[in-house]
Symmetry: C2
Subunit: 219 residues, 2 copies
DNA sequence: TTATATTTTTAGATTAGACTAAAAATAAAA
DNA sequence: TTTTATTTTTAGTCTAATCTAAAAATATAA
């Protein structure tokens, strides 16, 4: 249906639309996909021809409904495969991204339908990101960044914003994973750092960390 | 490591070396891969540069040890994925080829190691073809074509030579699958057709069928 | 053994996707 | 509002993999 490159552009643009709230620039796409802006211009014109996005010279792009549908389907496949890799093949959550990046391009509706069933139709991937259902609908949750919660409140870790291997390994070292209870014992307003409690341990975390961890607040 | 096209050429040549016992011609490759002979010449020269096969103009090609290693690894991946699709996702044996054809190109040693373990290190795929181990070694079995066995002998179906969806569906209709006992009740020397017994049913099969079914003889 | 047919290779084009370098448009600063 | 800087596009190349058409080598037949 679509080439590998086309799928990767659509996926990247979809993610950028959410991060940047709207207008996605040529440079932003180039950076996210690790290519040159001139290459992006070419591809974007091709995708506009195919009605997957709208494009005005010098004005950035916006996915059409069709483009979004394609992108969401790739994201669905990516996240289902991540669940498979972690739940069934016992990969660690910091090892699955690159492999899922390849698996997401396998073409077979039936395969994904069956994989989803095999995995018990999971709602979230191993990093806590929601898995769109076959109609593209996401399970919404009340989640906040850890950095947004107040002193003495506590929450359960439900996901990560950044999911680089480095960050995930840091979390492992601190014994934080999805489902872990985290209580904010103190918050430094100057630099946003925090003292938190995880299990019996209490320790310091920087703002960068707190800004990349999603929690669901508990009473 | 290798491009998709390169991998497909190596795999096709490997299979042809076995079917044709040795020398593989440009035309044979072109036919098997559904491309033009001129394209094959180009690619074959490229693969020769990379020492994956030896090539003499007008004389056909032969895989080097390295080329065989690569080909066998792709076949290993293909067959392991087929087992996954049938055993875990409940696909039928006539539906898995095209999907495995894509999955075989996913690059990750670790993935295959874990998949193999998850599946219980199977020796054969759903069509009865042997799965090379990680060193490329195949489990050998004493198998014969059904067409080669004598009247009143019986055997267990252990594989198929041809594995097109059409042939597999024919076998299903006749209730023949891997593990099925087959007894030869009669054999017509003129056209090689047979009367066989499968379960309680007795029926006629043509030579074409008997020539594409592998059995292991039983006393 | 010459003539004919088949197979294989070469030469030249094409397409997707990327790149560099330079030009054009837009945005920011003086 | 000019000038300067940044972003984006265009124009022209490049590589992988394919193709067509024609030439060259090999195989087959008279």
């Amino acid at each position: 249906m679509f080439t590998l490159a086309e799928e990767n552009y659509l996926k990247a643009i979809f993610h950028l639309e959410h991060e940047l709230q709207g207008e996605v620039s040529t440079n932003a796409i180039a950076e996210s996909i690790e290519t040159k802006p001139s290459s992006v211009t070419d591809m974007v014109q091709k995708l506009a021809e195919k009605k997957l996005l709208t494009y005005k010279r010098y004005k950035g792009v916006q996915l059409t409904a069709e483009g979004k549908k394609v992108a969401i389907n790739i994201i669905r496949k990516h996240r289902l495969w991540e669940v498979f890799l972690v739940e069934k093949l016992n990969f660690h959550w910091d090892e699955v991204h690159e492999i899922a990046e390849q698996l997401e391009h396998i073409q077979s509706e039936e395969l994904i339908t069956r994989l989803d069933k095999f995995l018990g139709s999971p709602d979230f991937d191993p990093h806590g990101d929601p898995i769109p259902d076959k109609h593209g609908v996401l399970k919404r949750t009340e989640k906040k960044l850890l950095s947004e919660i107040e002193k003495n409140q506590q929450g359960v870790c439900v996901g990560v914003k950044e999911s680089s291997a480095e960050f995930l390994q840091y979390l492992d070292k601190k014994k934080i994973s999805i489902g872990t209870k985290i209580k904010v014992l103190g918050k430094e307003f100057f630099d946003g750092s925090m003292i938190i409690q995880v299990g019996n341990e209490q320790f310091f975390i920087s703002h960068i960390i707190a800004e990349n961890l999603y929690v669901q607040i508990q009473e």
